[in-house]
Each structure stands twice: as structure tokens, then as C-alpha cells.
Amino acid sequence: MTRPRTLYEKIWDAHVVEQRPDGTCLIFIDRHLVHEVTSPQAFAGLRANGRTVRRPDLTLAVPDHNVPTTARLDAAGNRLPIADPESAAQLAALEKNAPEYGIRYIDAVAPEQGIVHVVGPEQGFSLPGTTIVCGDSHTACHGGIGALAFGIGTSEVEHVLATQTLLLQPSKTMEVRVEGEVGPGVTAKDIILHITGTIGAAGGTGHVIEYTGSAIRALSVEGRLTVSNMAIEGGARAGLIAPDETTFEYLKGRPYAPKGADWDAAVAWWKSLTTDPGATYDKVVVIDAADIAPSVTWGTSPEDVVPITGVVPDPASFADPSKQVAAAKSLAYMGLEPGTRMQDVSIENIFIGSCTNSRIEDMRAAAAIVKGRKKADNVKWAIVVPGSGLVKAQAEAEGLDRIFTEAGLEWREPGCSACLAMNPDKVSAGERCASTSNRNFVGRQGPGSRTHLVSPAMAAAAAVTGKLTDVRELMA
């Protein structure tokens, strides 16, 4: 009889091409997602060494990080130029490299264009049990459908383009089990913020986290992608959620997903992708779903999480002396005083978007809160950025865009936008942003920007009240 294995071990074992004596394995990569920022140097490396792309059929390129989220076509349907010369150069490089190497390419004005981690599952390009890589650390996102997915650097992008493999050491495994039912107003984002606050930003270092438990099983695929997306914020290289009927239902009929008899064979294999009874993880953390409140970050590390009903902590309250120093620094940067109620923190900017929270369910959750309300006067800038052209079209078909614009929020074109300060969407120095993205690092949304990570519903609540707000107070 074979030894009981975790989900991670099953996927790993199915992808070993070669094992080195020291345990390092050459792992086959089933899907490679490419965007404009981390690929130019990789293609330049291929060219310099006269190499080709081994499996262009397993590679999908789409621009997302740099593309402006304002209109991309003029009234006559011509493409508008990108003002920033460096962004334009990166985009031009991808536009040239993809066809040259025979790679599938979704261009900046295609209806399917969007954030690479939204596009992958949406197109059925990302599948359960596959290994997926991309030169972006939030590749962990695809773990939400049961893929072993992780971010890689540019040298590795070049390595995968050339060989369709990566040399990897097996990770340790960690189970984060969330049992029970979450309360009203508590979303997938609150679950993952709460987890990150509980395990810490380095809690999962060296591990792949499998999220289990009834609260995870109850999530839609969109919600699972949100949870797995932020595995990296807990230090883990990847997140995983075992595929189930919810996953199959979501994937069925998507353009790149298997069809007909292939579909049945695929589902049969996917059903075997669960952690065996008796398999052990290196670390286990159990969380009671009832303990999770709508959550918000107060500092500059994603572990700096409190319930919205909480207060800014006193740095002296941390046991670890280096955390005390870090917390004091964070508070100085964030312009916050210990003891301030989170709900008294006023907000000037709202960003609803990013690969964490820009899917249709996120758009609906935010729209449900702003509907019939108006943006608060002190909110200077509030943008809603759908994760892909298809999300945008769906939202528009449901009339969500009008709900946002009537409330005074801007409705944009898909892309990474204000998740990172790399395109024109930025938060000004010293200003606060209630953001549905995944990182509250110093300068992440622009030099001097102050980020509070929240769910889409919480960001929408802040938009209409002008301060961090307990969304439950606005729910009918």
C-alpha cells in the first residue's frame, strides 16, 4: 500500500522529471503565464543564447501590470498611445516577443485581456493538479482551483521558457483549517487577512499552505482564489485548495478547459487530488470561522491585521522587541496613534481591484454596498477596476458599472492598476487608501502612500462614509 500523501505531495510527485541525489527535483511546468514586466529580460536572455521556447503551447502572455486603466481606444477605435515611455517599451517588447516565439498572446485591447491571475482560471488555462508559474508572486492565486502555482523571478522565467521545467526543493506542508460558518459581512478576504494576522507574515515560510475546513469548502471559486492569492503574504510559496464539485462547475466549458471525453477523464483524475486520510502536515493551524470579523490592516506588513471594531495597537503590546520597533515605524509611516479606533480613521482614496479582489463576485459585493448611496465628500479618488475584460462585460450587463458611477466612483479598464505603483493609478504621499489589493508595504501604492487592506464590501463602505467602516452597519 502506498503511504498516505497530502494534496501537495500528490501534485509534486506527478511532476517529477528527475530527482537529484540531494532531493532537488526537476519539475515539469504545465502552464506558464507571462506578462510585460518580468519577461523582457528573460526573452533577451533566450535571444542572447540562441534558445527557443520549448513549449509555446503551454505559455500564455497577457499585459496587465503597466497598462493604463483609462480608455485604450479612441472614438474611431484606434489604439491610444501609452504616455510613459518605459511602460510603452515593456508592452512593445511583449507584443514583439510573443509572436516571435509562437506564444499565445492576449493583447491590451482584446476582450479577454486582464490581470494574468484573473485571466488564467477564467479562460480555463489554469487547471486543478497542474503546476503553474508566472513572474509575479501572487501566482499562488491559482491554488484556489487546486493548482500548484507559485511566483518566479526573471531568471526562472527564462529557465521555464527554455526547458518547461524548474529545479525545486520540495516544500514543507502546512494546513490552515478554518472550521465553521463565517458571520454576516465576513468575506474570503477577511478570512485570509485574519489567517495572515494569526500566522504572521513569515508563518508559512518554506511551506506550501493547504486551506481546508468547512469555511473554505463553502467558498465560491472566486473566494478561494482570493484566499490562495495571499498565501504569499503569510510567507508561503504557494497555497492550495483541493478541487471539488464547485471547482469543476466553475471550469466546465471554459475555452482552454478539456472537452467531451477529455473532460470526464480530467474530472476523474482531479477527484483523486485530496489529502489522504492519515497523511500528515509539517504544521497545522486551526481557526474558528466564528472568530473572524470584517478585518483591516493598520500597518505596513500584511500581518498587521485587526477587526474593524478594533483599535490601532500599541507597539509596546508586542512581545517580540523587533516587532515593537517595526510597529512603531509602521505607525509613524501610517500617521496613526495607538488606541485610535479603526473606525475613526478617515480615508481619501478607494481602490477596488487587483488579482485578489476584482472578480465578478467582488464587483457585486462592492456594488451592493454603494447602491443608492453617494461617495463621501472627503474621498478624493475612488476607482473600481475589474480584473478582466470579461468581468467588466459581465458587470456592465448586470448594471454594476452604473451603480458605481452614479455613486461617484470611477469605472475603469482592466489591469493591475493601483495594486502597485507602476502605472498612472497611484495614491498620493501621505494619503490613505482603503484597498482590496494584497500588499500594504511602504510605498506600494505610490511613494508615501498609506494602504489599509480590506474586502471589496469594506472598501465600498469606506467610499460612502469617508472613513474605515464596519460594513455590517450598512448591510440591510
Partner: protein, 196 residues
């Protein structure tokens, strides 16, 4: 890649925990299509302070950087390793690293040394005034004051660093094995190929 074995020189005693890749190289430096010149943007937010460590005369061109837990956390950008390399850093010493960062470091000829916090505290003291010596072959960090700390490193990474090996050429030696895997995959799970 430049081979790395013995590194002797001043070590910048940064000491901070959770130094993320946004601190190492802010996002607005990422919009390039080449790898060179990133050092100018390295630690930009810290270097705004005129009295910062990096720009002090004694630490200019220092080949070693000492930091706290979880160095290189955050975004997977390899630009962080390029920026450190361009700044002249060949060795980072810290109690822990983000997985992605330590992989990127090795690929760019930078050695991530893991030492316990107590050793880091001692090295921070020494680094303020004196050089530090790193010996990859013997896996030690030493000072002229008889300090001697040994560290662990994955043997494959060690070999790549010492020989300055490029990983793609190494993997290309496994070309036949990759081909066999692909054939087997097509036979066992043909539906794994994208449908459209």
C-alpha cells in the same frame, strides 16, 4: 555568472527585519527591459536620509549586507537581486529569507547566508568598525576577533555559486528526460494540453 567563494570586506549592518523587495528596489525602478544599473535605485527610501548606512564612506561598495528575519519578503521581483548585485553586494547574512528571494539571489551569484539571531547580533557589532570574512567552501563566517559561525547551504546551490554555473545549461543536460516526461504525460493525461 561570477564564481563566488571567499568574500572579505565591510558588511553593512542594516539589521532590519522583514526588509521587503519594495524596500530593496521600489516598483518605479522595474520598468526596464535590461538588467544593469539597478543599484542606483537600491534602498531608495532608506537612502533619502543623508546619513544612511549605504552612502557612508566606509560602507561604499561593501560586499556584505547584514539583515534581520524574513529578508527579501514581498514581491517576487528578481530586480531585488540585480539591485543588490549592482550595488556590489555578494553576500547577505540574515536569520531567514523569503524563499523566492534566496532562489533569485543564488541565480544571480549572491550568497544568502543563514545564521541565528545571536550570531547576527555579534556580527552587527563587529561590522560597525571592522570587516567580516565569508568562506563558502568551508561554510563559515569569521571575524578578526576569533568569531567563527558555520552555516548550512544546499549543496547544489553551493556548487552553482562556486563554479558560477548557469542553470539553464545544467538543465539542458536533462533534455532526454524532459522529452520522456512529455511523452508519458501525453499518453496518461492527454487532456492536460490546453484545449483551444
Amino acid at each position: 555568472m561570477t564564481p563566488l567563494n571567499q568574500v572579505e570586506g565591510r558588511a553593512i549592518p542594516l539589521g532590519l527585519k522583514n526588509v521587503d523587495t519594495d524596500v530593496i528596489i521600489p516598483a518605479h525602478w522595474l520598468k526596464t527591459t535590461t538588467r544593469e544599473g539597478m543599484g542606483r535605485g537600491a534602498f531608495e527610501s532608506i537612502r533619502k536620509d543623508p546619513d544612511n548606512l549605504f552612502d557612508r564612506a566606509e560602507f561604499k561598495g561593501a560586499p556584505i549586507l547584514i539583515a534581520g528575519d524574513n529578508f527579501g519578503c514581498g514581491s517576487s521581483r528578481e530586480h531585488a537581486a540585480w539591485a543588490l548585485g549592482d550595488l556590489g553586494i555578494r553576500v547577505v547574512i540574515a536569520p531567514s529569507y523569503s524563499d523566492i528571494f534566496s532562489g533569485n539571489a543564488v541565480k544571480n551569484g549572491i550568497l544568502p547566508v543563514v545564521l541565528p539571531q545571536a550570531a547576527i547580533d555579534r556580527l552587527m557589532e563587529v561590522a560597525a568598525t571592522d570587516p567580516v570574512h565569508v568562506d563558502l567552501e568551508h561554510q563559515t563566517v569569521t571575524t578578526q576577533f576569533q568569531d567563527r559561525f558555520t552555516f548550512e547551504i544546499d549543496p547544489f546551490r553551493k556548487m552553482c555559486l562556486i563554479e558560477g554555473l548557469d542553470e539553464i545549461s545544467l538543465t539542458e543536460k536533462s533534455d532526454a528526460a524532459i522529452g520522456d516526461y512529455e511523452k508519458q504525460l501525453d499518453a496518461e493525461r492527454p487532456w492536460m494540453r490546453p484545449a483551444a
